[in-house]
């Protein structure tokens, strides 16, 4: 299911140099392995800072069946070396997304992976059904969302629920399905195994770590929602560990993310076993991060004699 392209002269978009950055996951070939993490990319806004064609794929912010307002503000707090967010998956709903945003995204040669959120299995399925009829290239199912029918426990925090939701969306989808896992679990490898068993075409990880910050002078949590998702450089060691564990637990492709700020960070994820990487928080604090990181990845490969991504993935001793 994963196939890296061995170096070929004048390959893809990197004809100018000797490198092949292409990667194929679930039958879809990305020009390069750099993608945007869900919720940290907005086509018009991010596109003001770089050419979207430079990306292997964009992963959209989460879309749900109905429009969601998300949480009241404050939604953002700073943490040491990272940030907390409690945006709460604000989005215009899948219909508006398909109508207003998808066509623009599809005007680039970059692949489009649509991230899907839901509060019930049914909501996920109906959104997936609608997206199946579009020209989206792939879907990423964010199962960190709380299951409101099960007392708000996150779909991705429970093996049975994670399996169930995977099976359900796979039955409906005509698109390859990536399951995006939450790191707030005891055994990430177990969750990965069950979603693979239920037919997932790939796994993205990690979503944010659940955290909290208290303003000791105002005497209240900084975020309206009290808790929020920790992201940024601080989560990288946890993310690398989980990518490493999942890579050794399943055969399907892995999208690795969590705190990637530089090309070297990206390489660390490839060595841990990622096939593709996503840039999240880095793009918030440096709008050009995705293209910078891609350039730094290329530089690393040139300086260290790697010709394609598979060589990096095979490098770990």
């Amino acid at each position: 299911m994963i196939s890296f392209h061995k170096n070929q002269k004048s390959a893809g978009s990197n004809a100018d140099c000797d490198l092949d950055l292409r990667v194929t996951i679930a039958g879809v070939t990305l020009d390069n392995p750099v993608t945007t993490a869900s919720g940290t990319f907005s086509a018009k806004e991010s596109g003001a800072f770089y050419d979207i064609n430079e990306l292997g794929a964009v992963i959209t912010k989460g879309v749900s069946l109905e429009p969601w307002d998300g949480n009241p503000t404050p939604r953002i707090a700073e943490a040491y070396g990272g940030m907390l967010n409690a945006v709460g998956l604000q989005n215009p709903g899948v219909d508006a997304f398909i109508r207003d945003e998808l066509p623009y995204l599809k005007s680039f040669k970059t692949k489009v992976i649509v991230n899907v959120a839901g509060k019930t299995k049914d909501e996920y399925c109906r959104a997936v059904e609608k997206l199946s009829e579009t020209d989206a290239d792939m879907l990423e199912i964010n199962i960190s969302c709380p299951n409101i029918k099960e007392g708000g426990i996150s779909f991705g925090a429970d093996t049975a629920m994670a399996a169930d939701i995977t099976k359900a969306v796979k039955r409906i989808s005509t698109k390859p399905i990536l399951m995006k896992l939450t790191p707030n679990v005891t055994d990430i490898a177990e969750i990965a195994r069950v979603v693979e068993a239920e037919g997932a075409d790939g796994i993205s990880l990690i979503n944010t770590l659940l955290g909290m910050k208290i303003d000791i002078y105002k005497k209240k949590p900084v975020l309206w929602n009290r808790m929020g998702g920790l992201s940024g450089p601080v989560v990288k060691p946890v993310a690398v560990r989980m990518v490493y564990q999942v890579r050794r637990a399943v055969k399907i492709p892995v999208i690795g993310l969590g705190g990637i700020m530089t090309g070297e960070d990206a390489v660390e994820f490839f060595m841990a076993g990622a096939d593709v990487i996503s840039i999240g928080t880095a793009a918030l604090v440096d709008p050009q991060a995705p293209v910078r990181i891609k350039r730094e990845l290329i530089d690393f490969m040139k300086n260290n004699g790697y010709k394609n991504l598979q060589e990096i993935r095979d490098a770990l001793l």
Binding site: T40, A77, G81, N85, Q90, V285
Partner: protein, 300 residues
Amino acid sequence: MTGVAPGILESKILGNEQIAREIYRMTLEYEGGENEIKPGQFVNLYLNDKSMILPRPVSICKVENNRLTLVYRVVGKGTEALSSYAPGDSIRVSTPLGNGYDVTDIARRLGTECTKTIVLAAGGLGVPPMIELAKSLRKAIAGTTDIPHAADSVNEAAPFLTVDMAAANKKLIAVIGFQDEVFLSEELEQYCDSVLVATDNGSRGFHGNVLELIKTAGDPGDYYLACGPKPMLKAVADYCVEKDIPIQVSLEERMGCGYGACVGCTCKIKEENDTEVPFKLKKVCKDGPVFRGNEVVWDD
């Protein structure tokens, strides 16, 4: 910004001096110039301390000859760090962000007889963006009227400064409030016909808040432009809405990216002509920070 692509620039700090208690003025060498910014826009400042990864949004106070002036208050670790940067140091600063005040709308109205007096209403750290705004408005007034210069003394470098406002029957008034210490009032006087000062503790000027001072001053103004703490903005907006005076307000919210990617900084906007939904969620950083005061849904 002509020639400067959106992004982050390495900028040299030219000055960073304290101008009041906890208040600092930073001047930066800045590519691009006054023509490329809109008053009310802000920049993201990036800190050297790698434990603080989020940018700090700070309003543009003034741009002149490739010099960007920012005025900020030390309120936390980030601004404390900022205050320690020295002239000569370099700092990472974004190209201008957000939509500033809609000066075109005002210019259009200034062309008519109905709009005579413009009021800048600002409180505390809402005052700095008023400098560039007042300058722009002064220019707009000079551009929309065809009138002599006061006492025939044209300021060649900045002719808009010597336009005879009285002859044009136009007025630019600033009403600015502070807790205690006053800053930037002299700067504003350069561009405004009058600057009225209020302090919460009465230590200088009017004893009371900005809205009280506006009322005391006889409710001047055909157009309001406001910036400051939320309660003040809400009060002034309510006042204007009631009197049916147009008002633009600049909002503030905790930000992740500052450029519209993270959806961290929403506010509720009820567009005048939109009857379908109670409000829409807009991004303060990208759709604002300036909104029509009558369209803002003020909750809490």
